[in-house]
Symmetry: C2
Subunit: 236 residues, 2 copies
DNA sequence: ATCTGATTTGTACTATCGTACAAAAGATCA
DNA sequence: TGATCTTTTGTACGATAGTACAAATCAGAT
């Protein structure tokens, strides 16, 4: 007996749709949107180009679905971790916990989705660099709330720093995060093999440590009004 | 009379070759390599598609020439500023000067090239995200020397920090730098208009301030051996 | 003025792009 | 089993890609 739910999630192959999504995610994340053709994706997924059209209608639709698939879980996980972090009493520890709550879900998946969140985060980095319109819209309306929540939380644990500075520094955090996922090999190369840029645990710890210190830097607005207009370096 | 030098730099139009280079640089930097067609570039430069082929042979050749045009001056300027920075006696001031020497040429052109170095830096950010092969090769063999020089200089002014940490943190610096140039509007948006992400001077000051603090953060290797394997946030 | 070499134009070729769509194949249930 | 719906396949079409190349145009020396 054992009725299937109704008639859903029973396709011929072990879900071609998911295979296409996964292949597209990987290819987009490493080569950008425009460099990857629908045929490339279909081939990588072992599917027919027509199947992509059938499931996602257009190439943009495919990208859109990738975002829809990840944004929810990742933001949810971030919210959970943020809520927990805000309960930390010690201000220094709390700041670190907040930063960690922001960073960790970007590296390790916040949900069951295979491959971890790193791939999706790398995808976002690449789309952002390419100025992809589809991605830009989704990002702005999906992540800005979360970003504001984090900025506010950080601001609360660093009340003496102007919000403007917090915004800049969290922007730097995201940039560093993105770049670490985009070119991890550069870290390995520049450290002459002493560090592994692909190691998520190292990246997270290094990023958290550095970022916490950056947030704790003295406020800028009041410290440096308008000095150094030219670049003439320092002294003499 | 007034003889022209010999017969160089006197083309029909006020230098079509330069116009093509400038247009390509701008388009590549904002849309990525693959999203921009040779015809787009020619149109933006007021040239004929065939002219692009004539001057640069291929689309890759065009990108290559853009890099050749900028890498030299920018590295030269960085070297000069770095040399000056290393002469600063006070360690704290020296660190800041070094970071500034790294950051400033990326925003403001180190040479006569129009538009400032920001455009070229944004281009590098985008190419890096797209995993462009032409760019990857050039970058590795052109910028790694400079990067090592900066890492060494920073290491000297922070002897107690392991080189590995310095590498990671300078990697974060570059990521933050890139991202600031790629999506400056995000800063404006998140700060609700209080900050202008497109303002180079602000970006530089914020970046320098934050990065100096990040470099000065306590060493990671010795501080955190292997704690926090899972993500379960801090405390309970 | 004419010749010469450098540059620009116009056009064409082949490859590949995103997408549409009809036919085939598989799944579901009466 | 046969009817019906979902999914996959195969193919094709128009658009656009990068690039090649001959003809036209120009600048400077003779």
């Amino acid at each position: 007996m054992a009725r299937k739910p109704t008639s859903k999630e029973t396709t011929r192959k072990p879900n071609m749709r998911e295979a296409i999504l996964a292949a597209a995610e990987e290819l987009f994340a490493t080569n950008g949107f425009n460099a990857v053709s629908v045929r490339d994706i279909a081939h990588a997924a072992g599917a027919n180009p027509g199947s992509v059209t059938y499931h996602f209608k257009t190439k943009d639709g495919l990208l859109l679905e990738i975002y829809r698939r990840h944004c929810g879980p990742m933001n949810l996980r971030r919210s959970e971790l943020l809520a927990a972090a805000k309960r930390v009493r010690d201000l220094q520890d709390r700041l670190e916990a907040i930063v960690r709550a922001y960073v960790v879900p970007a590296f390790t998946s916040g949900s069951d989705l295979a491959g971890g969140g790193a791939r999706f985060t790398r995808l976002r980095a690449v789309m952002s660099a390419e100025g992809n319109e589809v991605a830009r819209k989704i990002i702005a309306q999906t992540f800005d709330d979360t970003s504001h929540a984090f900025i506010d939380a950080i601001h609360e644990s660093l009340p003496h720093i102007p919000r403007t500075d917090i915004v800049w520094r969290s922007h730097f955090l995201l940039g560093a995060l993105y770049y670490s996922l985009v070119t991890p090999d550069r870290v390995s190369r520049l450290s002459r093999g002493e560090a592994d840029g692909s190691d998520a645990a190292s990246a997270i710890e290094q990023l958290v440590q550095a970022t916490v210190a950056a947030f704790q830097a003295p406020a800028l607005d009041q410290a440096a009004p308008a000095r150094r207009r030219t670049v003439a370096s320092s002294k003499t």
